[in-house]
Amino acid sequence: MRLLLLLCLMFFTQGVIAQDDLLKLLGKDTTLSRKVNGTFKSTHLINLQSNETVFKKSLDFFISHRFGAIGKSSNATSTYHNLWGFDEVSDIRIAFEYGITDRFTTGFSRSKYKENWELLGKYRLLEQTIDNRIPVSVTFFGNLALSTYQDLRVRFDQPSKKAEAERRLSYVTQLIISKKFSTRLSIALHPTFIHHNFVFPPDESNAYALGIGGRLKMTHTISVVMDYVYNFGELRKPGNDNGYYNPLGAGIEIETGGHVFSIMFTNAYALIENEFITSTVDTWRKGGIRFSFNISRNFILSKSAKKKV
């Protein structure tokens, strides 16, 4: 009799479908094959670009400002007279970047250092997925910069206007390989090739470099960001004492929904890749550090998106 009752109970428990089973009927999470969001908060780390592009039909207005060196730079030493570099401007860059698609961004910028007018393009070749089927994101970055700087050496042999304009061009080609290891930690590697159409000896037209950068989130809005670029080639090799140094930057990034503010310190003088990678002549050791900030503001230009609300 007891056995029968037991059997009966077993039947009963089988008949009732538990709530957890109800949810199990719903199947697997299909969103895991989606791409990872927010490897970095903005299109830049400190000096280097990040893998992030501007979303479709959005405009990113990006302002960078770099003050003078805090301590000893290649041509001056800061004191209280210039408030340790605060009264000086190393470089200012204003950029407009527009997302043609979510993967493809074009942009335009002007920076003070060597009067560079830049056209840039960024394309996401690969996007890391949540399930790590694609383990890394790879973004291509390329630019073309025209320097209108009044440097007589460019005209030393009285070239034609066309030849002179060509001399003033430089190009950057860069792959940005990045991985979001966790919600907090993202790392990026930047193999870079820079070509200047015209350089002054002993410099060479072609320069190769490898950048490395990363972000560590402290809270949802505040992150610590760092980057460093290593230059290959004898001229800029650390310790060769040719007056060149590798740019290193560190700072804090604050994201406030549409705005991203970054405040940082770096030994780089210029703001665009064409210049800061190859033309950094100050070192952290002597106080050739500059206070610098970036402000990024995102505007949504799509009309249909506005109408929906």
Binding site: M1, L4, L5, C8, F11, F12, Q14, G15, V16, I17, Q19, L22, L23, L25, L26, G27, D29, T30, T31, L32, R34, N37, G38, F55, K56, S58, D102, I130, T183, H220, T221, T256, G257, G258, N298, I300, A305, K306, K308, V309
Partner: protein
């Protein structure tokens, strides 16, 4: 005694049969949306990836929605929603598991006011809730509509002070699911 057991077995047998074959209803591609209204801006997001299972015999009901499927008017908002607020990498789904409080003949066509009590899980926080809704039985289908309010602090979703004026402290949520009988119970 034997008689009782026999009756019990027959009853359970029938019940079991009913549960397995006819009483389970499934809704896929259900609609969900939320709305946050402030003086500064309105934020709304929609998904049509909500799934739900409803057992008419026991009146147990379960909902789940992958938070990543919510679409916003701007991709940047979508990124912030996933990254900063619901943390969808850690807590990918919002779920509700509960029971309909009213006893309703789910085979009879009509519209019924219902309430459901159960546990809602969002952002890793479980909260016991009772929500009102409307159920319509029509042509062998069941449609459930439900509107409710979620207070962000109840689910430990923090809004930074800087953007507090842009995001409402509580969200209006709408759910709409159409259920059809679930054919096979996988064993």
């Amino acid at each position: 005694m034997r008689k009782i057991i026999l009756i019990l077995i027959t009853f359970i047998g029938l019940q079991g049969d009913k549960v397995n074959a006819q009483s389970i209803y499934l809704a896929t591609g259900g609609n969900g949306s939320f709305f946050s209204a402030t003086n500064v801006e309105n934020i709304d997001a929609k998904t049509n990836s909500l799934t739900s299972v409803f057992n008419t015999a026991t009146e147990e009901i379960a909902f789940t929605v992958p938070l990543r499927t919510f679409k916003f008017k701007s991709s940047l908002m979508e990124e912030h929603f996933n990254e900063k607020y619901v943390e969808s990498e850690k807590y990918p789904n919002a779920t509700f598991k509960g029971k309909i409080n009213e006893t309703i003949d789910w085979t009879k066509e009509g519209t019924y006011d219902i309430t459901s009590t159960g546990i809602m899980n969002l952002h890793g926080v479980d909260q016991m809730r009772t929500e009102k809704g409307k159920a319509t039985v029509k042509e062998g289908k069941i449609i459930i509509d439900c509107t409710f309010n979620v207070k962000l602090t109840d689910y430990k979703i923090e809004v930074p002070k800087l953007v507090m004026s842009n995001i409402a402290p509580d969200l209006d949520i709408k759910v709409n699911c159409t259920y059809t009988p679930y054919k096979k119970v996988a064993k």
